[in-house]
Symmetry: C2
Subunit: 180 residues, 2 copies
């Protein structure tokens, strides 16, 4: 599955043939279809796995932080770190979002992640520390910033994860204008 992930990420899902995967692995085609029902099923498995991993990572990072705003910040940093260490998978997730047939799986995972963040946002709103806007939209905004900055600066431009995460947090919390 690791090898398939890197092939898919490098060549794209469609241009990567099952023959190519099994050949690179030095096994026969039969063994592929023994473990996976189809090429699509393998891809979905990779997707589900990735989402599970990311979620665990976020939960671990947030663990026992009581402050909702700090929790959001830790979530951003944890996501950024995971994006950094799983570039290939990030590419696959992005590709998956462009194909209707992968949407359901993707959607489920993203909804879970957003719901997590939204909970903290809601808490923040109740505490009067976060402005009273739709928590789901705000969560998605955070997710959008984090993902995009990770792809553009950590992946493409190889900038330091911490530096990018720093700016991402600053931007998400106080926008362009805030923060002295």
């Amino acid at each position: 599955m690791a090898y398939a992930t890197s092939r898919f990420a490098e060549n794209g899902y469609h241009p990567t043939s099952v023959a190519e995967i099994v050949q690179g692995l030095g096994v026969g085609k039969g063994v592929f279809y023994w473990y996976f029902a189809s090429k699509e099923e393998l891809f979905l498995e990779i997707l589900r796995d990735a989402q599970r991993q990311l979620r665990r990572r976020q939960e671990a990072a947030i663990a026992d932080e009581p402050d909702p705003v700090r929790r959001i910040e830790l979530g951003i940093r944890a996501s950024m770190a995971w994006f950094d260490q799983n570039r290939e998978v990030v590419k696959l997730l992005q590709f998956a979002s462009t194909e209707e047939r992968f949407a359901p799986v993707l959607r489920r995972g993203q909804d879970v992640a957003v719901a997590d963040t939204a909970r903290h946002v809601k808490e923040g709103i109740v505490e009067g520390r976060i402005r009273d806007l739709d928590p789901f939209v705000l969560s998605h905004a955070v997710l959008g910033v984090t993902g995009h900055l990770a792809r553009e600066f950590v992946h493409e431009r190889s900038q330091s994860v911490d530096d990018v995460a720093e700016v991402a947090v600053a931007f998400c919390l106080e926008g362009l204008l805030g923060g002295k």
Copy 2:
């Protein structure tokens, strides 16, 4: 090209065959290869066209607004409106960013757009109205928020463009914490 765009957006680039496109158009295959060197070339043409359109739209919206911060805001609203009216193309742009071979064209267009925004951000920093962080990172952050919110709420959840744009602007300018 319009028909091809909708086929690509609905079925994906790879799964859509040239035969399918020309059949849907009621023409022979030869006419396709008379006007386009290859399937890939057609796709690139669509991409370039889209980027040109979006850029024109943004420039028109910003036109003669002197305030850099207002310019950024108008840019966000214009982008959001364009994303709303060009869902198919947005999908294609997103797909293109996952395939190495389309990256160069995509990159060039995005760099131009980001450079535009970054100019306004820089002005804002000079005026002391925007915090002193890397203007390119901030511009990408704005772009990330706008694109993601458009896809998630305008495209997927069919929410009103204006409402989403409103939140996007609020978030970009003042983040989660700011704004009363």
